[in-house]
């Protein structure tokens, strides 16, 4: 069947299939309740608690079994001599997936087991149905391969069992040295572990087998690049690309290697070369990587970044989380340089952090931190109370925010406007066959504890969730929630009584997507918050964008939804000139050029070890169009930006672009970068709000600034995707030398107006208190 017909068919039938599956899920749920009720009629006692290493219940067990079978299918080489071992493995998987069963459970098991598998199949079917709608048919196989590899690898690498994995492939190669496929996998596993020289050796041997030559040469090109042997990488890349000139990924790695030696050597034929067209739009902005100079060059699988003032000295400090690593806490020395004070801070004990969000939940004037954990696995997010002396105390359990799940985005919000920050945690899927872990909304009880109210509040999400952010659809002051992930984005309107209504469909933002980061900002400065949702793009689309300056016709560029001011949104990415496809994992908005218009910074990549994608800076040219100025401004061609952030770290009006880089695999370590404009490009004003009746961080406040008869709008966010921007709001003013008016709408409804404010300074404003105080002027 031609792909276009298949695509139309999927688009037509997809929503119907989704509705059918949702209905079937409900029916099966009812049947299970009935079965359980019948079981409860007997006299049997409750189930015994799960032992360590055992799934907690039947549903967890069926998921666990399916995940194990997936791993077996991927890692077992099926040939007749291994059938016995495969059967043994399968029964081992079943045994290890066995849940704790009491007598009552045994009675109902014959009915419950098929129902449990059926509900799991429905959940997977639902994800598959939306993924199929979000992905063109010609890419299904590609996408499936990617998903299967990543999800079956994640458990191994997060739980640090890669040594067993290496040993398994080594053994295969020892037993059958002629098995080039096993050698190829050994090489790839070496790469994931960061043993690139060993990988290159194995892949060189594997490349001697004609059937696998192209694949092995490709992988070897990547390995050689990673161990800085660029000349040999070029040689292998050229040989590989000559075998299949259409392979864009090989072309890309060949190009990257050539960049490192000053350009393509003569032996690379012209038809195998490429040029970067995207990212070269002329700009006045020039960026320097100052991470080493200022002491923020952390090597890690970088994750969330948060900028906050931990000790109230006025200077902005930085927290960077890392896969496998502890969180690093960098204290600002007051001159834009940093001291690493992680040691003994408490945060250094917090390994496997994903998203990091700062919020002063007890309103004591010191921002606390929530660190979500292992967004593609299962971990325990942690709440850290700020002691005010550079140390933090883990209060997760006492506060009642402990749960086990694949926590991704964590974001603070005062959703009921009681003056206390509540916490929302978005949960992804921990395994390909894991059931959706509920997203959590923790209501702040005001005594240092929280109560989870997600279900009562009506925040039901069937999809694995990655991105989440709070904004305001209608400027009614009540924070509304957008979530994004593998499925349909959901927009929850705050009813003002502690509950929410899912208005995604009528709002027009629920198109199927392999969604990632999402946030709110007033992209067109009209006083109404817009939504930007980022989506997964496969590497070939990102390379296509790099070569052509726009994404392919069937690609998936970021989605800009403009607020129509009537509860609906319009997709306007094209109008804003956002036509590229990137694997965006993290993004934020800020006025880097001090022009009075918000620019966008995108951290890109995916977990694959052979994906090394540049961060992208989209400059707003003031006419409503974004231009990709990344490379023209000095950003590098490579990266894997997980946590991106923008902050005026030196207090001189220059927004620094902070990019925490690195991937999932132990071998995919990169150094965090901080890009600073070489010189300020315009005047600015930084504003920090302190709530009194409202929450102290003023999360949820809206600010309108008027300079030169032009308005700018900001919304104080409590975090989105991998981290949170500083609460300090940065306004670029260009050549304006005076701010005529600033209007603040505090979360509790108070309005405050200030006039004739100075420029090139950082001001502090307190709720209900007239005037302002200078925190510091441009240095």
């Amino acid at each position: 069947m031609p792909n276009s017909i298949l695509s139309s068919l999927v688009k037509t039938t997809g929503p119907l299939i989704e509705s059918g599956l949702t209905m079937a899920d409900r029916m099966l749920g009812d049947m299970r309740s009935l079965v359980r009720d019948c079981g409860n009629l007997g006299s049997a006692g409750p189930s015994s608690p799960a032992a360590p290493g055992q799934p907690a219940d039947l549903d967890a067990a069926t998921s666990e079994f399916a995940n194990r079978v997936l791993r077996l299918a991927r890692f077992t080489q099926f040939n007749p001599s291994r059938i016995a071992i495969a059967c043994q493995d399968l029964s081992g998987a079943a045994m290890k997936s066995r849940p704790p069963l009491g007598l009552r459970d045994w009675l109902t098991l014959p009915a419950e087991l098929p129902l449990s598998f059926a509900t799991l199949a429905i959940q997977e079917g639902l994800r598959a149905a939306t993924s199929a709608q979000a992905t063109p048919p010609e890419r299904w196989v590609d996408f499936l391969e990617f998903v299967v590899e990543v999800f079956s690898d994640l458990h191994i690498y997060f739980s640090l069992q890669y040594n067993e994995e290496l040993e398994r492939w080594r053994q295969c190669v020892e037993e059958r040295p002629e098995d080039a496929a096993a050698r190829l996998e050994l090489g790839r596993t070496y790469m994931k572990c960061g043993l690139f020289e060993e990988a290159a050796r194995e892949l060189e041997i594997a490349a001697k087998t004609p059937d696998l030559r192209r694949r092995a040469l490709y992988e070897r090109t990547v390995a050689l690049y990673r161990c800085a042997d660029y000349r040999t990488a070029i040689r292998d890349g050229t040989a590989c690309l000559a075998l299949r000139p259409k392979c864009e990924r090989t072309r890309y790695w060949l190009w990257l290697s050539a960049q490192r030696v000053g350009g393509y050597p003569e032996e690379v034929p012209p038809e195998l070369r490429m040029k970067a067209k995207d990212g070269c739009h002329p700009t006045a902005l020039q960026l320097d990587d100052v991470a080493t100079e200022i002491g923020l060059d952390k090597v890690s699988g970088g994750r969330g970044t948060t900028v906050l003032d931990i000790d109230g000295n006025g200077y902005l400090d930085v927290v960077i989380a890392g896969a496998h690593a502890g969180c690093s806490l960098f204290h600002n020395n007051g001159d834009g340089t940093f001291e690493d004070i992680s040691l003994g801070s408490g945060l250094d004990q917090c390994v496997y952090g994903f998203g990091v969000s700062a919020g002063d939940y007890d309103n004591d004037g010191r921002p606390d931190l929530y660190v979500s954990s292992l967004g593609f696995y299962n971990g325990e997010g942690r709440l850290f109370h700020n002691n005010g002396n550079g140390t933090f105390t883990d209060v997760t359990k006492e506060a009642g925010v402990d749960f086990w799940g694949p926590g991704f985005t964590a974001t603070w919000v005062d959703y009921d406007l009681d003056g206390r920050l509540d916490l929302f945690v978005a949960n992804n899927a921990g395994g390909l066959f894991d059931r959706k872990t509920r997203n959590r909304l923790f209501h702040n009880n005001g005594d240092g504890t929280f109560t989870e109210v997600g279900i009562e509040a009506g925040l039901h999400t069937p999809w694995p969730t990655i991105g989440a952010a709070w904004g305001d659809i209608s400027n009614d002051g009540y924070p509304d929630l957008i979530v994004s992930g593998m499925g349909r984005a959901q927009l929850f309107r705050n009813n003002g009584d502690g509950t929410f209504t899912d208005v995604s469909r009528e709002a027009g933002i629920d198109a199927p997507a392999i969604g990632s980061a999402v946030f709110w900002c007033d992209i067109d400065n009209d006083g109404w918050l817009d939504i930007i949702q980022f989506t997964y793009s496969r590497p070939a689309d990102a390379i296509y964008t790099l070569r052509h300056g726009h994404g392919p016709a069937n690609g998936s560029p970021p989605r800009i939804y403009r607020n129509n001011r009537d509860g609906t949104f319009s997709l306007v990415s094209d109008k804003f000139g956002i036509i590229g496809c990137w694997g965006t994992m993290s993004a934020c908005a800020g006025d880097v050029t001090n022009s009075g218009h918000l620019d966008l910074l995108l951290g890109n990549g995916d977990p694959s070890i052979d994906r090394n994608e540049a961060s992208i800076l989209l400059e707003n040219d003031g006419s409503g169009k974004f231009r990709n100025v990344s490379f023209a401004a000095g950003l590098p061609y490579t990266g894997k930006g997980h946590g991106v952030n923008m902050a005026d770290l030196a207090g001189d009006g220059r927004l620094h672009l902070i990019v925490a880089s690195g991937g999932l695999y132990p071998g995919d370590l990169q150094t965090s970068a901080v890009y600073r404009p070489r010189s300020p490009l315009g005047n600015y004003l930084n504003v920090r709000l302190t709530g009194v009746e409202s929450n102290r961080d003023a999360i949820g406040a809206r600010i309108k600034l008027r300079a030169g008869s032009r308005d700018q709008h900001r919304f104080v966010s409590g975090g989105s995707n991998f981290g949170c921007l500083p609460y300090e709001q940065h306004f670029g003013l260009g050549e304006m030398t005076k701010v005529e008016l600033m209007e603040i709408h505090w979360p509790n409804g108070h309005q405050q107006i200030l006039e004739d404010l100075p420029v090139n300074t950082t001001l502090g404003l307190e709720e209900g208190k007239p005037g302002w105080r200078a925190i510091y002027a441009r240095k």
Binding site: D89, A325, G326
Partner: protein, 182 residues
């Protein structure tokens, strides 16, 4: 009273069982040397493998500096360490911090984490051995070597501390309710 080096700048002496003979006491290794490098390490850490040759050759390159490698990963047995030593022909002095007491005292969370201390056990450098680049990479930053050079030259390193990377020495995930084989 704080006895940790974060507050005093000086590490306390320790004695750990050597895996293959020799002395397990830090102060003995420091005798008649200008300093010592202590690397917290694991036989199964893939990042540590990258430094096998570096550590094997360390004392030849730095005769004035002692090297102590401390195996500190949870659940890693002496037998496993011996296997790693023999399979990878590792020749450096290896000590076993089986209960991770020294690692905790030294705030170590990951392997490899390197410390450079002077003869008075003052911490001169703490952090990563380098920035995980190969030596032929123009972007390679040999943090530890630079610190050793500074110590031997009578100065202070420009980078006395870097963030570490690597594999956690202990984690709830080792007792995860999802053992993964098969």
């Amino acid at each position: 009273m704080n006895t940790d080096f974060k507050h005093t700048g000086q590490v306390v002496d320790f004695a750990l069982p050597p895996v293959c003979g020799g002395s397990g006491r830090l102060s003995q290794h420091l005798m008649s040397r200008q300093g010592a490098v202590v690397v917290f390490w694991s036989g199964v850490c893939s990042h540590c493998v990258r430094y096998d040759a570096y550590l094997n050759d360390f004392e030849n390159r730095n005769p004035g500096i002692a090297l102590l490698v401390v195996a500190a990963r949870e659940h890693e047995s002496r037998a496993q360490l011996l296997t790693a030593l023999s399979q990878r022909t590792l020749q450096f002095p290896l000590l076993h911090d089986a209960d991770r007491a020294v690692a905790h005292q030294w705030f170590v969370r990951q392997t490899p984490t390197a410390f450079l201390i002077d003869a008075n056990r003052r911490v001169i450098y703490r952090g990563a051995i380098d920035n995980f680049k190969y030596s032929q990479d123009p972007d390679c930053e040999p943090y530890l070597d630079a610190a050793i050079e500074a110590l031997l030259g009578g100065g202070s390193p420009t980078r006395p501390e870097t963030a570490t990377f690597g594999c956690p020495i202990e984690s709830i995930y080792y007792t995860l309710p999802k053992p993964l084989s098969p």
